[in-house]
Symmetry: C2
Subunit: 338 residues, 2 copies
């Protein structure tokens, strides 16, 4: 098969319609999309979460996933960490002229499978084709909407002194998998991305521990950057224990070789949960019963509320007993990680 | 000013936060976005319209608009033609490393102004930066959501024999403006894009003529392609009158020089309305009272319902009295028109 996407596939005319008919609609077919209107019509009620993300990851296919799966999981997770049940999603592709049709078909298939697995409906989409050299193969934007259950109140400004900080598993897997998949690193490893939709796990968590205060998925910038954001938004100091951070052997080895810190590496199937101390054990045990939470652990806690005069910090209590200030990622560790 | 966007501005770390703080948040500031959560939390109720579009237009700035204004108007119009009142929108940018910060700032300003003019709230966003050569300057995705008023039922499958086809003004302006702005055409003209948000006009129309059956904005592929889509979806034959098509003198001249047909040229501030014959005059007069409908005209009508055996056609009754079959755009007239 050596068919390729042509500029005319993005014209809005006959070739666009053919591509939609042959590849896109069969993959996504559902009662909303099949209406073929300029906008999907969907019923919604109450407080909704609404989020967008563009995906420019390179390479398109990596151990543990591809750009299609990632584009769905990323947006599903951004809804889920707000306590929302993902309902509808749009998918918009910008394609470089000359992309092999088989590659496009495979990515569309991944989007469809990931959406089905997460229980989210692809309600609409868009396709643009740009001339060779004007983009790198394919970029995908997904935008999702979900409904927030009455009574749920999770927010990044909601962390309080005494809260425990819990993560559902090992850190840095996505970043390391993508790094090692880049040809220019010439590294082979068994590391796979953790790319996964967390809405199932999170729904179970919220049912078990409705008092969860903060949830965030530590993607770009890693656990370090996300914790710093939460510290600032909640105006608290957070202390994490280096020894408690779950990192797989291969990722640890990989980071040592390249001199990078797993705390700053992207995750695509992890959630940081802040819960009152008395609920922490239940959060961990609920996570561990779920396939995506087997290595859940308490990694730290909120040590104090900050006064108006000091800057909210994240502190790392290291293995050798020292304290290190953890700041946001500065510079760029690895472009196009998602 | 010679600052440029760096890869690290897309890292999710300190430079991302600085760019957001200095350029993005001041432009869009509102009670939803300012929460800085992973997803916006918005109240919604009832039937909603949900639509996405990516914008890759080249050049970024053209007579009558720029990619920022276009990105807002395009999505606002896709909601409005479904009878929805646009409420919330996300904006996601993919930026090429090296883009001048001043250009980004100007585009962000255009998005903010267009959103304010249309009465839609920018509820969320995303920013990715890719290395030089991996995209062409900047691509923008907007995804919008709006609520549909009880009782409104417009749909592309709703055209019926006898319906009149009405447009709110001249055709081909956007396509001609972008074509003439491309350096490689070496053409100078007074043609300006019609890029505009139609939700105000459409709301007034629906209040005056609630029985409107179909609305669509003829963007990529032009009036011809959109009418063909409606013919197929409603299973009807549509006949339009060449003499009735509003085209400005400059656009007509431009099309003659380049040998292109205004019927296939993109519009970004036009809506095709199908209404029962007895309502057609009221549609036209309501349009003409609005700044965006001064040149409104009836351009044709639905001539018959098709039987199961024949293909729904769009026919053009030409100035010289002949009939021509109008098909969808085949091939690509002009890549990256939106």
């Amino acid at each position: 098969m050596d068919e390729r996407i042509l500029l005319a596939h993005g014209s809005g005319g006959t070739l666009t319609h053919r591509l939609l008919r042959e590849i896109v609609f069969p993959a996504f077919s559902n009662h909303v999309l099949d209406k073929c209107e300029d906008a999907a019509v969907v019923p919604l009620r109450g407080k909704c979460a609404f989020t967008t993300d563009s995906f420019v990851i390179q390479p398109l296919f990596f151990p543990g996933g591809d750009i299609g799966k990632l584009a769905v999981c990323g947006t599903v997770n951004d809804l889920a960490v707000m306590g929302a049940r993902p309902a509808y999603m749009t998918a918009a592709c910008i394609i470089e002229e000359g992309l092999r049709t088989a590659v496009f078909r495979k990515i569309v298939g991944s989007i469809a499978k990931a959406a089905k697995d997460a229980g989210v409906l692809i309600a609409g989409g868009d396709m643009k084709v740009v001339e060779k050299g004007a983009c790198d193969k394919i970029f995908i934007n997904t935008t999702g909407i979900g409904t927030i259950t009455e009574g749920i109140r999770v927010s990044a400004d909601n962390a309080r002194p005494g809260d425990h900080v819990i993560i559902n598993g090992t850190i840095g897997d996505h970043g390391a998998a993508v790094m090692s998949a880049r040809k220019d690193y010439k590294l082979r490893s068994s590391i796979r991305s953790d790319c996964a939709s967390l809405n199932g796990l999170i729904e179970r968590l919220l049912n078990t521990v409705p008092r969860i205060r903060v949830m965030r998925d530590p993607t770009r910038g890693g656990v370090a950057t996300t914790l710093k954001e939460i510290a600032v938004q909640s105006n608290v100091e957070i202390t994490i224990e280096e020894d408690a951070l779950p990192v797989t052997g291969p990722v640890r080895g990989f980071c040592e070789i390249l001199g990078v810190d797993p705390l700053y590496m992207a995750n695509e199937g992890k959630v940081l949960v802040f819960a009152p101390e008395e609920d922490a054990r239940r959060v961990v045990s609920t996570m561990r019963k779920h396939a995506l939470g087997r290595n859940a652990a308490v990694i730290g806690r909120v040590t104090r509320r900050c006064s108006s005069s000091d800057t909210p910090q994240v502190l790392l209590h290291t293995s050798i007993g020292s304290m290190r200030i953890i700041d946001m990622l500065s510079g760029e560790q690895l472009p196009r990680i998602c």
